[in-house]
Symmetry: C2
Subunit: 656 residues, 2 copies
């Protein structure tokens, strides 16, 4: 274990930032001149002054007639004044005619005011008759005249240093004759992914390897931050190779990010590489879960971050630690550092991590009583936790847990919360997937497969609009309805029948006909996740088989019982690849993968729908599709599926 290194004192991200500030000046890296049109989104490094007066000359703000106001003082609605029309001033040209006593000149919006005139009468209050104009309303001196420089004066400051250039500001500066602006230079950030296991996305898959997601994740996030990513590719887990790559990064970039290789298990490769620089490692380890194995180092004035390799861990430390640093180097307004937050009700209890601040990715749904946060499960290697989350909840270091129903603060991954129209959290089903794909043409859908029981709970807690469930109740020997009786605020909508049984290899080589065979022959199974409707069936089948054999749970090891697939497809794939001899699942996926199927029983797959969501457009669309002839036909075409007479109908409504 000599290669493994104990972490120095772990610090919070805020403490890490202070340490960095003590070594490095976190200020804009420089200034560059840009043509105005290229500068949208950039931050001004100087006060910008108007180059010309705006407007550059006295002009009319309306269509009408330029007059001497004093000539109109007696004009009234029923007693107009008559003025002589002596000409017209063209927009964009010098006025070639003046306005004398009793005269007027036609002007369009934006046209120069001719000499002698001091007001404009709107066309609505005038009537042209040959070379005369009747004026039906008295004009005030200066009325509808915009004086030269009255909006902005040559030399006047229009935008101050530190301001981000919005489209509106770009437009205003263009009008004021500004051609170029000085803005802060964008920091160049080198990204080096380390790990012998890494494959570049886009290349064909090679066994025992994983795709490098971090480079994509971070370079996409950098673009949002007004930084330039410098993708340096994948580097082997080799001290010399990483050192060379970091050296190159330091030459070509302002900040270097190294992902992976930070854990003690890698012999703390990155730590050792980075500690060679001067001043070397500043921070080693964060009080964060995920995100602990983070290294901050510096070479002279340039920062090097070693971020954990798992995408979620990498992204969390990037968000909490690297982003604030880069924002300051980019000269972005301090406000950028305050990440957008929303308050939400927690749908499911989350545990803390003693000694660490725990970061829990959540998805959000807007219910009747506000936002509800649902923790997206999985380990720190999980990509679902990234792809299905809107932000994260921070559980402070000292807190043991946060209970469901408590209000939490959710830090959003981006400023704008773009919630889907329909959130479905529940049991996985290929027929449901087909239905949602069709619904996706009209509504934005989000679907998370977590099993029946968790789905039911998500709907009750307000985290989902609907859940597919297939929960067997032994006492009543029926599906789903008994589970609805004890809950509130939910509606049960009739789904369809799915044939369930044992999925075995083609030709059924072990000649399996029941769960009893599986136990007796000590075959390897693949299980389903806890809380799934199928898991309940698996446990019932094993329990029944044990009873038949006169055995009890624990008397015998069932190989593969802990191998929990998340979906029916997962079960079929495990059997297809020979990782398991048998699994419990639906006939449809067995056929899909060309496997054999031993029928056990029909199950009923229904939908729990949030009562408060029944009048949402997306939910109505969902129910319409469920009830449609198109869907009945689809079910009858899918092997192992059957519609029911009342498919798509509400069969139970709980109390509020």
């Amino acid at each position: 274990m000599g290669r493994r290194r104990i972490y120095h004192r772990l610090v919070t991200p805020e403490e890490a930032l202070k340490v960095i500030e003590n070594h490095i000046r976190l200020a804009p890296l420089g200034v560059e001149s840009l043509k105005l049109r290229e500068a949208v989104g950039r931050v001004l490094a100087e006060d910008v002054r108007a180059v010309i007066d705006v407007p550059p000359f006295d002009r009319s703000t309306v269509d009408g007639y330029a007059v001497r106001a004093e000539d109109t003082y007696v004009a009234e609605e029923y007693s107009p004044v008559t003025l002589r029309l002596v000409g017209r001033v063209e927009v964009g040209e010098a006025p070639r005619v003046g306005v004398g006593r009793g005269e007027c000149v036609e002007v369009a919006t934006g046209a120069p005011i001719p000499p002698g005139a001091n007001a404009v009468v709107m066309v609505e209050y005038a009537e042209e008759a040959g070379d005369k104009v009747l004026i039906y309303r008295k004009a005030r001196v200066g009325e509808h005249v915009s004086h030269a420089g009255s909006d902005a004066l040559r030399g006047e400051i229009l935008a101050w240093r530190g301001t981000r250039l919005t489209p509106e500001l770009i437009g205003a500066l263009a009008a004021a004759g500004v051609k170029e602006v000085k803005v802060y230079r964008q920091p160049v950030v080198a990204i080096i992914a380390t790990g012998n296991e890494l494959l570049e996305p886009g290349r064909n898959y090679v066994e025992w390897r994983i795709y490098d997601a971090d480079t994509y994740l971070i370079s996409a996030a950098l673009a949002e931050l007004s930084c330039k990513p410098l993708v340096m590719g994948i580097c082997r887990d080799d001290e010399e190779a990483i050192r060379e790559r970091v050296d190159e990064g330091l030459r070509r970039a302002d900040v270097v990010l190294v992902t992976g290789g930070t854990s003690a298990g890698m012999g703390d490769l990155v730590y050792r590489v980075l500690d060679v620089y001067d001043p070397g490692v500043l921070v080693h380890g964060l009080k964060l879960r995920p995100g602990k194995p983070t290294v901050v180092a510096a070479s002279g004035e340039k920062l090097i971050f070693g971020l954990p390799g798992f995408p979620l861990s990498c992204y969390m430390t990037f968000t909490l630690l690297v982003k604030p640093v880069l924002a300051r180097l980019a000269g972005l307004p301090l406000k950028m550092l305050e990440r957008a937050r929303v308050r939400a009700t927690l749908a499911v209890r989350i545990a803390g991590a003693p000694g660490y601040r725990r970061l829990v990715p959540v998805l959000l749904r807007l219910g009747r009583r506000g936002l509800v946060a649902y923790p997206v499960g999985g380990d720190s290697g999980s990509i679902h936790r990234l792809s299905a989350s809107d932000g994260f909840v921070e559980v402070p270091e000292g807190l043991e847990q946060v209970l469901e129903g408590e209000e939490v603060e959710v830090t959003l991954f981006r400023d704008r919360l773009e919630l889907p129209d329909l959130t479905v959290i529940g049991s996985h089903c290929p027929a449901l997937e087909k239905l949602l794909t069709r619904l996706g043409a009209r509504y934005r859908v989000r679907c998370l497969n977590v099993g029946s029981l968790a789905g039911l709970r998500a709907v009750i807690a307000g985290a989902a609009d609907a859940a597919g469930i297939h929960l067997y109740d032994e006492r009543e020997d029926t599906y789903n309805l008994p589970y609805l009786r004890s809950v509130r605020g939910a509606v049960l909508v009739r789904g369809y029948v799915r044939r369930q049984g044992l999925i075995v290899a083609r030709g059924n080589p072990h000649n399996i006909s029941s769960m009893r065979d599986v136990i007796e022959k000590r075959l390897r199974m693949v299980n389903r996740v806890k809380g799934s409707g199928t898991r309940a069936l698996v446990d019932k089948l094993i329990g029944d088989a044990l009873r038949e054999l006169g055995l009890e749970w624990g008397d015998v090891e069932i190989p593969g019982y802990s191998f929990e697939a998340r979906t029916h497809n997962g079960v079929a794939l495990a059997v297809l690849r020979g990782l398991a001899d048998v699994g419990v699942g639906i006939e449809y996926v067995a056929r899909l993968y060309g496997l054999d199927f031993v029928y056990i029983k029909d199950e009923v797959y229904d939908f729990v729908v949030s009562k408060e969501a029944m009048d949402k457009e997306s939910v109505k669309g969902f129910l319409r599709l469920l009830h449609s002839q198109w869907f009945r036909h689809l079910l009858s075409e899918m092997p192992g599926y059957e519609p029911l007479p009342d498919t798509g109908q509400v069969i139970y409504v709980s109390d509020d």
Copy 2:
């Protein structure tokens, strides 16, 4: 007036949208395949499925030792189990060793689980001793093992059609082996600016012309909207020329925007051009101020918008009408159409526009009691209304006014509100500008010149942190303090002395020595905006002079009295350019422009500061600088300025 055309029935932007929907299918224009990394921010046109299982193999989620869980069942903290270390599995490689009874294998985070093992013991609970490992904790079956496909399964849908590709999603899809994605094509939007008066920004100024701000404004806004701008340049006000340009736009783009030339005063040029297409003009005129002269037309399935030329009017109709259309053509989530809104307290009364929905640009400031909205003044040609505003308030068609103190809803120009650190609204002063420029190194500053009285009101209403004021009180023959006595929540901070007088041409050709000369000689003056401290002085000087001459207001016309410059510089420039013979202003700007100056009196320029803002960092920095030796020195160097013994000190605190 024959060329002028009466507007068809005016409609609201919402009605206009309905009309458009009845003619054109507002749906995505097409689909394109992109490499994953190029697709950030784009909208998925298909459901995206995992290409490989994630993780692709059973792997360890921690650094530790792969074991058979059953071998560890008796392990305890003070009574470890000893296992034989039979090897190590490298990350990224096939496991070359299996785990038998009583054996273990070293694994790092992410390494494959070797055959035979079904759990991992974390390194923290193990101790290596030669070829043995002591295990101090019992492992559960499956502990710290992430099973192949447990996160995502090959073929499983990871993101649904209509989803915007965030960095997190890009990362997740990369991990799942996705190489390319189908996204909706970005609409190409042609921008044609019409008007003989238009000059391209960047070119040298030509008299009687204005810079084309609309093209810059709209093309910058299009980029934010996932649309591609096609800049087609400036077109003369000529029916044939515009027609040709629109034809080209229709060939090369999906939507054509024509700015300018929509007002009746232009002979409704754009209306006439667009009505030739089939089906031609769909909407002519919006119930909007600004924004009325808007034309919507179509040629086949392609939309053509004629937008008013004044930048603010152009931007408002773009925001309310064009943006929602483009968002749908781009396939952006429906949520994009809901513009971000905030609630704020209105600082100053705003009037409605009978028969129109009025749009009033406002700046926002966050005070103790929430956001305060301050209407930025000016006409619809004003660029300040664009550059200094954060969003706008809509005054409904039927409403006569909204009073100060009422709560209003502000539609933000963008999702993220980036408020400045310090908001100064008040009287213009070159010394203040120099001070704020220096302060801009540390804080984001916004400064709006509206005059002393409006500035005082803005501070009281919570719309500004501070205001420079120089308000003379005749009764007490003193500056500023008397005005503070009747207000609440404000602090008066001592500023400095400015020498005031008449600004006249070099050599004083009209031999002006007093305002009486101006009136007697019927000279042309330039005035200052109402509510400015100088305007009060102007009116007092004229009043005194009239009394001396035995005259009253209205007895005599004072040429140029209605020509209201917004700043001292404006006064000086008007004199410099011969637009006026005389104006009232400070010595500093007279000297700056090489003009002559007739001293009248010293004035005291102080600062009103919001009491609640006194502990804001930016305000403290402002006051520190005001009190600094640097600033005293600056004042003593500026002609016509003088510091006071108590410059920078609080001289009065009002009640709360």
